[in-house]
């Protein structure tokens, strides 16, 4: 049954209500008895599962017809305190709305907001998984953050030690490759210099030129082989990512939106990134909308829950941008990231990133694996979670070795400790 048909059905049902139907419905939904008019008024805040009750009340169905997949609206949505409708958001639970919240119809907006906030607090307490943090209690200042770091250190260090053995070979190969690139550049410079010095009118010119180019090609082939070895070594390093996923009790899930067919290629990377988080680490199921990068721009970016990426962006770039979307939607994650950045860069002055960055892109580099980790944004966003996820999804072993504190911080964030 499509959503449109169901909505038509609801209207039809409401136009053909009988006192017996309303009475049966109120019994099933455990509501106080209502007149038909009161019922129509109540139903204006309609629900999907309410429709099921109505059909049962009419005797048209003995079992619920619709498979309900309710999701609660987030604290940031206009539907908080409501359950969602399949595939979308909005609506409210039977017996929900103002009645459930205990406010009258004539209550002011302020009173309704207060009632929603109270209900939210109660429900968080009722539904919080055992051992999960209370989101009202995550660190709010550096003293609390220091306590949090101490509390999470043991478990995070345990994971770090398991991951460390992977990926060391890749690091050595990366250094070797840097030298190889320089050798390659020199080989081509020499080749073209030699060709320039040849006498073009001489009889053996073509053969001599081909010989010179072959020599440079050989250097290029060796460099390419080294790149292939590095790729294989990095795959070994990726074994660490499996360990990162091990032991997670209840992986977080994500609602993925895709605005371009090519975005489908990246859906698995988004889901894989989110599944490295315990569900309890995030206050809500995050949304990530995958969109193509506008023409002419080479840098992937994120705005709210929309990530703009290239069609061939590697998985760790998707992880990076997904990190921004998570930070945007989770007050817990965002606050922890700000605390960590603040702690690590205390006393530092922001400097321009320089190079390929715009003049107003500044960072406090600390001793992060990349100065970019310490990038400062005007509105409190950070690169902490995004860069952490970049490392976690590409070579967590190297990350664990290069910056143990940052690695442990990410484990604490992702495991909801």
């Amino acid at each position: 049954m499509s959503q449109v048909n169901i909505q038509r059905s609801i209207r039809w049902q409401l136009d053909n209500l009988t006192p017996a139907m309303v009475s049966t419905f109120c019994d099933i939904a455990e509501l106080e008895p209502m007149t038909e008019d009161e019922f129509r008024d109540w139903w204006s805040d309609w629900t999907w599962d309410g429709l099921d009750y109505l059909l049962v009340a009419r005797g048209e169905s003995e079992e619920p017809m619709i498979e309900i997949d309710l999701r609660e609206g987030s604290s940031l949505s206009g539907n908080y305190g409501h359950a969602g409708i399949p595939g979308s958001r909005g609506g409210s639970m039977p017996g929900g709305g103002h009645r459930q919240l205990g406010v009258g119809r004539g209550a002011s907006d302020e009173e309704k907001k207060e009632a929603v906030a109270q209900r939210r607090k109660e429900r968080d307490e009722e539904e919080a998984p055992q051992g999960a943090p209370s989101y009202g209690d995550y660190p709010k200042d550096q003293a609390q953050f220091a306590e949090w770091q101490k509390r999470t250190a043991t478990m995070a260090e345990d994971i770090r030690e398991k991951v460390l053995p992977y990926g060391v070979q890749a690091e050595a190969l990366e250094q070797e490759l840097t030298s190889a690139y320089e050798g390659l550049a020199q080989a081509w410079i020499q080749a073209y210099d030699q060709i320039e010095s040849l006498d073009k009118s001489a009889s053996g010119y073509d053969e001599a030129k081909a010989q010179i180019l072959r020599q440079a090609e050989e250097v290029q082939q060796k460099t390419e082989q080294l790149v292939q070895r590095l790729n294989r070594a990095q795959e070994g390093g990726l074994a660490g990512t499996y360990i990162m996923g091990a032991g997670i009790e209840s992986p977080a899930t994500v609602t993925v939106g895709i605005s371009h067919p090519e975005g489908r290629h990246h859906e698995a990377s988004v889901r894989s990134t989110i599944s490295m988080f315990e569900a309890r680490a995030l206050e809500q199921v995050p949304n990530v909308h995958i969109a193509p990068l506008p023409e002419g721009r080479a840098r992937a970016c994120c705005s709210g829950d929309i990530i703009e990426v290239r069609r061939d962006s590697p998985a760790f770039v998707i992880a990076h941008e997904t990190g921004h979307a998570i930070e945007h939607q989770s007050a817990r994650v965002a606050t922890l990231a700000q605390m960590f950045l603040e702690k690590r860069t205390a006393g530092e002055t922001a400097k321009p990133l320089g190079g390929g960055y715009a003049a107003d892109e500044v960072a406090k580099p600390d001793k992060f694996p990349s100065p970019y980790c310490g990038k400062i944004y005007d509105r409190g966003s950070t690169e902490i979670v995004s860069m952490g996820l970049t490392y976690m999804s590409s070579n967590p072993a190297k990350f664990a070795k290069d910056d143990p504190e940052y690695f442990r911080f990410m484990v604490g964030v992702m495991r909801g400790l």
């Binding site: 550049a185 410079i189 290029q220 840098r299 290239r310 760790f316 390929g356 970049t390």
Partner: protein, 74 residues
Amino acid sequence: MITLSIAGDEYFYRGEWEGPDAAIRRVLTMLSDTITVTPDMGDPVYVIGHQVAEMLGARVISYEPPPEVPGRVY
């Protein structure tokens, strides 16, 4: 002006070069296909272009990074 290819898409290197042009093109092609563009690179076109310039002893005369888009994080 040099065209740089990253993962199949072509970008203009928005800078001017002074150096052995043919060698730059050759190495640029190799590097743009093998260097992994990471999110912390800034403009990858700049990074790869400059890396090649440095290796070859070429001089970069000018370069203009693309402007940041307000409200975006990278």
